[in-house]
């Protein structure tokens, strides 16, 4: 009986510490309800088209930017240029490069990071426009 009590106490204490510190981490990284524009400047890339920021971007235009050297992705129905961040991605270039020019980025991102890196995503990308299906 004593043993079970001690074991349960350890589980509860560790669990409480986890929840407390995980909650603090989430708070620091949460994006809130407003998405912010990215502030990373980008230069270069193939198949560039003059896109006026804020205009609608369709699947055809998105698909032109489908490589690690020129990578546009869709997140929350907005198109972002993530090219300059790809070499700095801790998980390597592959996981992001695979989603360039497609609408698969958001699901892959959420599967990997949930919402924990959403605010960082905003800081390292450049907003290109609204995604129009």
């Amino acid at each position: 009986m004593k043993k079970i009590f001690v074991a349960l106490s350890i589980v509860l204490i560790v669990g409480a510490i986890f929840l407390f510190f995980s909650g603090e981490k989430e708070q620091q990284e949460s994006i809130g309800s407003d998405l912010q524009l990215g502030n990373t400047s980008y230069s270069g890339g193939n198949n560039t088209t003059e896109v006026v920021q804020g205009q609608g971007i369709g699947l055809q235009e998105l698909a032109k930017h489908n490589s690690a050297s020129d990578c546009w992705v869709v997140y929350k129905n907005k198109v972002y240029d993530i090219t300059s961040f790809i070499p700095n991605h801790p998980g390597g270039e592959g996981p992001i490069a695979r989603t360039c020019g497609t609408t698969n980025f958001e699901s892959a991102f959420q599967r990997q990071h949930g919402t924990s890196k959403a605010s960082l995503f905003m800081k390292v990308t450049t907003y290109k426009g609204e995604f129009t299906n």
């Binding site: 074991a7 669990g15 801790p90 599967r111 990071h113 924990s116």
Partner: protein
Amino acid sequence: MEDKAKGVLRMGMAIVFISFGLMQFSAPDSWTGFIPQIIQNIAFNVFGLTAVNFVLANSFVEITLGLFLLLGIYTRFSSFILGLHLAFITVSIGFSATGVRDFGLTIATIVIFLNGADKICLDRKLN
């Protein structure tokens, strides 16, 4: 001397597991690359766990069972689970410097399981 050796081995391995658990908790993103893709898919599709959450859950288990091992509570049970866990990691890493090191740690954990509760375990004092 033999009894002390068993206790030292148990507590040493406990520190290893607790340390790895703490490292995973403090920087889960750095550990997501170690999760085999099939496990990642199952965790997400069946349990709705992102890779980061999976690492955090793993760190919780390692720290908790590491503490059990440190104190010598449910020694056999915790060493069995941790040994199995480490064996799986060893196999998935394969034959490399890290894999060989993890193989040694797996064997050490299995030895703790086979030894059971030593003289300085709480298992003996609380029974």
